[in-house]
Each structure stands twice: as C-alpha cells, then as structure tokens.
C-alpha cells in the first residue's frame, strides 16, 4: 500500500516544509518564553548556590540580604563562629549599583564584598585569578563585559579586574562583581565628597559636638561618622553531622538575629522576590501556548481545506475513510514534528543572545513535544471531520 501522506507531501513539499518552519519558529518562541521563566528561577538558585552557604544570618526581623536590606556589625561573625555546629562563618555585603568602566560607560552590577578564602567568593573562574591583594582588585562575571586588566570605578576607587567568572548573578539577573570586603564596606556606606563636607559642617554647627573647652571632640565625632563596620549578612557553613535547623535555632534565640536555611531562602527568593515577575512571564507563557495551539490547529485545518477537491476525488474513486483520516493525521503529526525540531533548534541558537539567562530544560522540551503532537492530533480530528463530510460530487462540481 502506498503512503498517501508521503505522496501528498512529496507533491507539494516546499509548501509543507515552509509551513513547518513557520510553525517551528512559533514553537521556538514558546519554548524560549518557558526558558526565560526557568532562567529567572534559576538565577535565584544560582545566587544561593554561588554563595556556598547553608545558613544566612541577617538582621533581626528582616528577610535580607537579597529580598530586604539587612545590616549587621561586622564583629557579629565572631560570635556566630562560636555557636555549635558552625564550621565556617563569613561576612558578606551585597549592593546593586552602576559600575563605571574607564571610558565612562557603566554597567549595572551587584557588587559583592567577600572575605578571602571564605564562602561567598566566586566558586570557579573562567579566566584570570582570584583576588590576592586586600584592596582594589575585582573578579567580574563575564556578562558585565569587563575584560581582564580593565580598570573599573566603584564609588571613588579604581579597581583592576583580575579574574572573570560565569553565571554569578543576583536574583534580578544582574551580573556580580566581587571585591574585598573592606573595600565593599567602604563603597557601600561611603557618601560622596559633597555629602561628607555637608555633614561635617552640620556637625560643626552643633554646639554639643563643637565645644570651645574640649578641643578634639569635633574631630572625634567627625571620624566616627565616616567609619563603617557594617555588613549585610553572615554566611554560615555547617559542620558535618549538624542539621540546618538545629544550628539556626540557637542563633535565633540567643544571638537575636534572623537565620534562614537554604529552604527558607529559596522560599523568599522564588516565592516572594521574583514571584510577581515570574507570574507575569508565566501568564504570558500560558497565553502564548494557547495562541500557538490555536494557530497550529488553524494551519492544519486550512491545509486540509486547501486539499478538499483532491479528497473529494479520492472519495470518488472509492478510497476508504480510514485511509483519508490517517493521511491527514500523519501530515499533522509530521508538521508538528518538523515544527518542534525547528523550534527547539531555533530556541537553542538564540537563547545565548538574550541579555538575561535563558534556561532550556530537556524536560520542558519533552513536554513541548508531547503537547505539540497532542495539539496536532486534536487539530487533525477537526480537519478529518470536514474531510469525511465532504461530498464526492464536489470533485466534479
């Protein structure tokens, strides 16, 4: 028995392939949108993975350091180190700002202050080296576009980019720039020179601080105002054999600090921080999927309608209904398959060009394949119904 579907496709293969390609691009867009959504969630997970922490110790009654601002004194880390079950604890600061390159362009980046050799440092590099000097060196994510040896400006100091890393992003997808903790503390809390001058003048006019009989008091107060010993969070690694909650509870209770476990942090990041934007993308994804399905159905339907005379002829020469139905179904599935492959390849090709991370999961692709074939099959039933109802006389008339 000859394949009617194959013959029909061979007859007008150019049209068939072009239709499949068009369909494929539509499916590609849908897959990409799913990738954008997955990418957002993955950005949040990457942030947690890269920090290398099991527990996050932050200011009491805050949900810092990513979702809310949190401020701790930098000696809190010492008392946390003394708690049972804490293998390592490290100070860390995060702040998002515009980082300037030498020629004046600026890039939005999350500046992370880490202690050398402690968690929070970039876990792996793609070029260069880790920070060795205590000041004025930076390791940047390749997405920032910085090159090794480039001088970047954070607040009033120039930093040399000594290393590059990859996939180190904030929950918002901003690439990270790692600098030494002391530099970061200064950069985070340092005001610009005008503000410092204004503050000095303001303090000097306050007679409580500027007493004629107490020389040196004003200088001491001024010095106190410009120094900073705050950090945003303490990253804790657990000692082997201790559960996260088991270590977190005493810190919460006796140190009067908020402690988040990995699960709690994921909850904050995924369910709270990126919830609205993720829902936005998810909503768009749903609509796009429905629209794609409708378009696929209409394409197959109109394709069948275009062949209605030929089908009438087939019926006239006595072709069985089942043969006609299987021809339409095979064509629909073939179209769906071509569309899916083209879509998957297209999505993979254009995904890296996106400014934010697009994560194409294999399981998403499988779901996409099954849904595409299901929609094609469903749409073909509509076409089959029309085809079977056609009057053989239409072939002549």
């Amino acid at each position: 028995m000859i394949s009617l579907a194959g013959r029909d496709i061979a007859h007008s293969w150019g049209k068939f392939v072009l239709t499949g390609m068009g369909l494929g691009l539509l499916i590609g867009v849908t897959l990409t949108m799913a990738g954008v959504y997955r990418g957002m969630v993955d950005d949040a997970h990457a942030l947690l993975n890269n920090s290398g922490a099991d527990l996050w110790v932050v200011q009491k009654d805050t949900q810092g350091p990513y979702a809310e601002s949190s401020s701790l004194k930098d000696d809190v880390v010492r008392s946390v180190r003394g708690m049972p079950g804490v293998a390592q604890a490290a100070n860390v600061t995060y702040f998002t700002m515009q980082v300037q390159v030498a020629d004046g362009d600026d890039t939005r980046a999350m500046v992370v202050g880490t202690e050398s050799g402690q968690s929070g440092e970039p876990g792996y590099l793609v070029a260069g080296r880790q920070i060795t000097r205590g000041h004025y060196e930076a390791v940047a994510d390749v997405k920032t576009g910085f090159a090794l040896g480039e001088r970047i400006r954070i607040r009033r100091h120039d930093y040399t980019v000594v290393g590059l890393t990859q996939r180190m992003v904030s929950s918002g997808g901003d690439p990270m720039v790692f600098i030494a903790l002391k530099d970061a503390q200064e950069a985070q809390f340092l005001k610009d020179n005008d503000a410092i001058q204004n503050d000095r003048t303001r303090t000097a006019t306050n007679t409580a601080f500027n007493r004629p009989g107490v020389p040196g008091l004003l200088d001491a107060v001024q010095a106190l105002q410009t120094s900073s010993h705050s950090v945003n969070a303490v990253l804790v690694q657990l000692a082997p054999g201790f559960g996260a909650e088991q270590v977190a509870e005493p810190i919460r209770r006796w140190k009067h600090l908020q402690v988040f476990t990995r699960a709690g942090m994921e909850e904050i990041l995924v369910a709270k921080l990126i919830a609205t934007s993720a829902k936005q993308i998810g909503m768009f994804l749903v609509i796009l999927a429905i629209v794609s399905a409708a378009i696929v159905a209409f394409i197959i339907y109109t394709m069948t309608l275009g062949k209605i005379r030929e089908i009438a002829v087939l019926k006239l020469i006595g072709t069985r209904n089942i043969t006609i139905a299987s021809m339409i179904l095979q064509q629909a599935l073939g179209l769906g398959l071509i569309g899916f492959i083209v879509g998957k390849v297209a999505a993979t090709i254009w995904a890296p060009v996106f400014p934010k991370f697009v994560l194409l999961l294999t399981q998403d692709a499988f779901t996409g394949l099954i849904v595409t074939l299901a929609i094609c099959a469903l749409a073909s039933t509509l076409a089959i119904r029309t085809a079977l109802k056609v009057d053989p006389a239409a072939a002549i008339g």
Partner: protein, 406 residues
C-alpha cells in the same frame, strides 16, 4: 517542480529530514545536561614564589608639633601661615599679655623702692654705729671716773645701759639692712618670674619645620593646650600602612617597599619598613607598619611630592621562597569545608584535598601536600564541577587580548 521525478523529491525530503534530526541531536548534545563542561587544565610544576604583602596607608609625618599657649588667653598676632618654612626658635605667634607689662612696671617700681629702703637702712646702721661709738666712749670714760670714785655707781650703770642700748640699736639697724636686701632678692625673683610669663606668651618654633595648619587667628580665645599652629618636619614623612592580619605573615622591619601615591599612580617610590607596631587594630583586624621613603618626598611642589593624609598603596617584597609545587589560585576550590583541586584522572575530574603554603600577589600558590609534579589540574571551568562530570578540555574559555592573568 513538476518536471522532477518522484525519486529526486524523496531524496531531497530524506536529506532535509536527516538534517533536521542531526540539528536536533547537535543541539541536545551541546546544551543542557548532556553537554560536557568546558575546562582548561594546567600541570602542577615546581617553582619559586616571590611573595609580597599588599596594604594601603596614609602619608603621615613622623614628627609633628601642635604649638599653643600653656594658659588660656587671646591670640594677639599670628606671624606665619600654612606652608611657611620656620626655623627653631622663630616667633610664630604671640598671645595677648593683658596686664603682664603693667605688673612688670609695678615690680620695677617696687624694686626701686626697695633699693631706697635699703639705702635708708644703711644710713640707720651708720647712725647706730655713731651712737654706739659715742656710748662706748662715754661708758669708758665713766668707768675710769668710777674707779677713782669721782662718780656714783648709779651714774656708771646709766652709761653702761646706754652702751648696751646702742649695741642693740646697731643690731636692729643691721638686721633691717639685711631684711631690705632679702626684699630686693624677692622682688627680683618675682620680676624674673613675670618676665618668664611675659616670654611665654610668645609662641616659638620648637624645631625646624613647615606650618601645616593655622587653627586660630588674632583675636580668638584659646584654652590651654589648644593649638594655634601645627608644624611638621617635612623630612620625616612616612606611610602608616595597614595590612590585613590574615595576609601579613612575614611583616618585619627592613623589608623593601614599593609605594604608589594616589596622586601619582604611574610612579612607584622606593621605601622600606621602618617600624612594625606592636599594637594591631582589633576592630579592623589589621596590623600597622610604618614605611619610610628612601628619598623623602617634599611636601611642597617638587618632582616627587606627597601631602600628609594622602592615600598610598604599599607592596612589601618578601624573600623568595624555596622550590615547591605551584598552582594558580583559580584552581583552588572549597568543597564541603575542604580545600582542594579538581584533578583530571583518565579524563574525569576527581576532587583531591590539598594543603596550601604561601601565595604570591600574581595569583600563584604553593601546594605542600596532596599533589605530585605533573598532575593535571582543572584551572577554569564553565560551571561548578562535580565528581566524574563529563568535561571537555579547551585552551581558553574566554578570548582575551591579555591572554594570561595581569
């Protein structure tokens, strides 16, 4: 299209189908969980390190002075301004002496009066001596007369009493005289004291130096100890360097230093560690050392100038280490609290814990234990590696013009 035989069409369709499937396979293998992680590797080699200590500091003057009055008062005049070079003993400023001059004049008058009193006392002594001489002659004469019984014993006693009185009167006069002399000494001492105070309102330069700040102007009132002027010795500029305690191993006096001032980032100045302070900063977790310049930069406008308070970056050269295995620090990873590297054995990464020694500022670090020379170790990777992950070794992950680490 109609002209082409069916076979050709089938072949074309077949080729298209194969191409599509090939593209899908390529995409599936190059991305997602099936794709290998690209890494670069290096082999562990022996070598020597030139470790160094890096820190930042501020330019300070080793010798500085705050010149001010020892008692509260009003500034009368300030003779020098910021930047003036002053010599030791030069008059810098003067405090208002208020009534010191008048009190000096009063003391002078009192001294003159004391001299007059002394002259009067001297005259009284002379007078008493004359009276005593006369009384002595009279007594002698009356004694002779009494011996010949020419006069009554009563008359003699009267003369003897006169002589004794005259003696006493002389002693009184002499005591008065020495009293006036002591008075003069006292007055002179008081005058000298006042003179000292008068001199003290003149603020003199304690040493050769340069004026760095002028804190009070003529007419302003300052309390005791409050500076009117500040001086520094420009030849004594050095850098107060702060080093992270964790990176300060080997910090010692005498180490050669490379100093880069913030105002001259292209010029490196030579220096050496003059002093390592015994007290470290417990709050900032830093140690403090003083770095002297090899050739002192002048604070004024010259080829090499530094201003006090300027930020400086200091790099201290430590002696070269012994030969040991070396690795780039980018290859060092921390996994579950262990420090180690990803070693490639038979194309698969395996985590080997290592013990590290000193490291240099260019990013190389000594490996003391855990590796052999010639071992292949992963340096850069596209993402975090796991035990036995599929890897693909490439030359570089990022195309850079520089090529190697700066």
């Amino acid at each position: 299209m109609k002209q082409r035989p069916l076979v050709v069409r089938r072949i074309v369709i077949g080729i298209l189908a194969v191409a599509l499937v090939a593209a899908l396979a390529f995409v599936a293998l190059r991305t997602g969980p099936l794709a290998p992680i690209k890494v670069t590797v290096t082999s562990v080699q022996e070598g020597k390190l030139n470790p160094a200590i890096f820190g930042i500091g501020t330019v300070e003057a080793r010798r500085s002075w705050m010149v001010g009055p020892t008692v509260a008062g009003r500034v009368l005049s300030v003779r020098v301004d910021v930047g003036d070079v002053v010599k030791a003993g030069q008059l810098l400023a003067e405090m208002d002496p208020v009534d010191l001059d008048q009190r000096l004049a009063a003391l002078d008058a009192a001294l003159a009066r004391a001299s007059s009193t002394q002259a009067a006392a001297q005259a009284q002594v002379t007078d008493a001596m004359a009276r005593r001489e006369l009384a002595a002659l009279n007594a002698k004469r009356n004694q002779d007369l009494a011996a010949q019984n020419f006069i009554s014993p009563g008359a003699l006693e009267s003369r003897l009493q006169e002589k004794a009185s005259a003696d006493a009167a002389l002693q009184t006069a002499q005591a008065n005289l020495s009293g006036t002399a002591q008075d003069i000494t006292r007055q002179k001492a008081e005058r000298a004291a006042l003179q000292q105070q008068r001199g003290n309102v003149r603020l003199l330069a304690p040493a050769n130096g340069v004026v760095t700040s002028r804190d009070a102007e003529a007419g302003s009132t300052v309390v005791a100890g409050q500076p009117v002027l500040r001086l520094i010795d420009p030849a004594s500029l050095w850098v107060r360097m702060r080093v992270d305690q964790g990176r300060s191993a080997g910090l010692a006096p005498g180490l050669k230093a490379r100093i880069v001032l913030r105002s001259q980032p292209r010029t490196a100045l030579q220096g050496q560690v003059a002093r390592v302070e015994l007290l470290a900063d417990a709050v900032t977790e830093e140690r403090i050392a003083q770095i002297a310049f090899a050739s002192a930069p002048a604070p004024s406008a010259s080829a090499v100038s530094a201003s006090v308070g300027e930020l400086a970056e200091v790099e201290l050269q430590l002696p070269e280490t012994a030969t040991a295995l070396l690795l780039p620090n980018a290859s060092i990873q921390r996994l579950q609290g262990q420090t180690g590297v990803w070693r490639l054995s038979e194309g698969k990464p395996a985590f080997s814990p290592v013990r590290l020694g000193t490291s240099s500022l260019d990013g190389r670090v000594q490996v003391l234990e855990g590796l052999k020379a010639g071992d292949s170790v992963v340096v850069y990777s596209q993402k975090a590696l796991t035990e036995g992950a599929r890897v693909q070794v490439v030359d570089a992950l990022v195309k850079t013009a520089a090529g190697s680490a700066p």
